[in-house]
Amino acid sequence: MSEAALHAERSAASVRLERALVALGIVALIAAPFVIYPIFVMKMLCFALFACAFNLLLGYTGLLSFGHAAFFGGAAYFCAYAVKAWGLPPEAGILLGTVGAAGMGLVMGFLAIRRQGIYFSMITLALAQMFYFFCVQAPFTEGEDGIQGVPRGHLFGVVDLNVTMNMYFFVLAVFLIGVFAIWRIVNSPFGMILRSIRENENRAISLGYSVGRYKLAAFVMSAALAGLAGATKAIVFQFATLTDVTWQMSGEVILMTLLGGIGTMVGPVVGAGLVVGLENTLATSGFPVTIATGLIFMVCVLIFRRGIVGEVYARWLGRAGE
């Protein structure tokens, strides 16, 4: 058998394996709340969607945003405020949060894509910090306390989200829709152009693509999906606080993606699960979370740059990412 055919066979096998694993994963997520504390799984799902949205930008467009907390936490504020102060139903609140995050993404992205590489990261970080200071001072965020006691309400006026299982399956649906959207984006012709920008921006320009517009579109989509995750989290936990807009949160989502595997579909989900799980464990042990997070960062960058899923792909499935 020729090498190309061998490679094709192997990758066909890996696609079958991947599909089986995804099916298994969905079954596990349906069964999870009956085994594990549902609130914990919901937290994992929200962060997993957040990390997948972030990976759309870093993994598939090659842009490292250091300010994604602004979209995650900002959407949480918008959603919590709309639901609590205006009495909007939860689905409208989440939609509003998502649209709000997309709007912020448009403004921040427009400014940030004017510079490349490392400057892009610093600009997103600075703009997100500006939003943080805004949230500290703006009256609607209720300062240090945050917006507390957000009612979960009834989904479409029918499904009572105060019932934990209803809430869980709603979050699972949001997660699956979000990840499916990302999968579609990544595998569309649009996604292919994003990858070409990641691989060689100058060549993409010379082929006639308006790289700036593609980057901005990817940035807005990533921001909107991060907002979807943040707004959903606000409904689940019934509050929105400053924690979600800090630069530490932007760092955390980078860690999830890096640990799981940059540029893989499943990696951010695995990474988010591990980081949220680790933080839960450390919270009771007294060992400071920041030290653990920092150490994992350093180890990942030095010796484990492909991440867990990327490493699995490279070793057992014979391909380097997607």
């Binding site: 980078i254 030290i291 920092g294 350093m298």
Partner: protein, 295 residues
């Protein structure tokens, strides 16, 4: 009382002085970032943590060993610089061939660890560091009252900035450094030990951050969080100035500090935001930064 735009002149000058002090630290830190970035192509996220480390080492030297401010002014940059060189040898030197993003991510992790360790042992509350006896008190300048130590900080930071600029622009070592920034392979071929140069450069940048830290200790409280609050503003300063020129980094640092001080007088609510707003405007009008060469 003399008024300018309906503001008492004393209040205006007082805030301008605060702005100038902040600007001194912005200038020293963005200078270090620019020096490191110029040669290593790494954005040192740990710069704020190294600044905090400098302040804390000064504080610990005083509390545990009774070593005062003036010896600390020499010891602290040495210790932080050596620490920086160790970090460069053990870790950063393995990242040069990779995407510069990894350098940012590694130093981000390093910053979290340094900050986490100090938070774990010393909590988040600030520890006061007394102004050295020689610089206690203040001087009445006629139009305003100037605390002596603050005057010293401005002078010291100017000396540090100009000294570093001279070191890089006028000395033999500086010429190697600038040459290696342009073309490391060629400089290596001429027999200059470029890896050593890289180590020394990171050490110099770290020492600058440490020196800024010990200078800051009597002005601000010595707290584990003092660095991370500052580093993001300094990033904005660096984006405004562009990292192409050392002088640009220094000038931008002072300018933005003063702009922040002025905002505190006229519209205090926005004083936290003004540096970022200026950054956004500069990005719209001059994407490469005020002194930048490359986009």
């Amino acid at each position: 009382m003399t008024m300018i735009f309906g503001i008492p002149i004393q209040a205006l000058l007082g805030q301008l002085l605060v702005g100038l002090i902040n600007g001194s630290f912005y200038a020293m830190l963005s200078l270090g970032l620019a020096v490191i970035f110029g040669l290593l192509r790494i954005i040192n996220f740990a710069h704020g943590a190294l600044y905090m480390l400098g302040a804390f080492i000064g504080y610990l030297l005083l509390v545990h060993l009774g070593i005062g401010y003036w010896p600390a002014l020499v010891l602290v940059p040495l210790i932080v610089g050596l620490f920086g060189m160790l970090v460069e040898r053990l870790a950063l030197s393995h990242l040069y061939r990779l995407d510069p993003l990894y350098g940012l991510l590694f130093t981000f992790g390093l910053a979290l660890v340094i900050e986490g360790v100090f938070r774990y042992y010393y909590g988040v509350s600030g520890n006061p560091y007394a102004v050295p006896a020689l610089l206690a008190g203040g001087t009445n300048l006629g139009f305003m009252f100037l605390p002596n130590y603050r005057g010293w900080v401005v002078v010291a930071s100017l000396i540090v900035c100009i000294g570093t600029w001279l070191l890089i622009e006028k000395t033999r070592l500086g010429s190697y450094l600038r040459a290696a920034t342009e073309n490391p392979e060629l400089v290596q071929a001429f027999g200059v030990n470029v890896p050593l140069l890289l180590t020394l450069t990171y050490g110099l940048g770290a020492a600058l951050a440490g020196l800024a830290g010990i200078l800051a200790a009597p002005v601000y409280q010595v707290s584990p969080l003092m660095g991370s609050d500052l580093i993001i503003v300094v990033f904005a300063v660096v984006v405004v100035g562009g990292m192409g020129s050392i002088l640009g980094a220094i000038v931008t640092g002072y300018m933005l500090g003063l702009a922040e001080g002025l905002t505190k007088v006229f519209y205090p609510e926005a004083s936290n935001l003004v540096v970022f707003v200026i950054m956004a405007i500069v990005l719209l009008l001059r994407p490469a930064g005020l002194f930048g060469r490359d986009a």
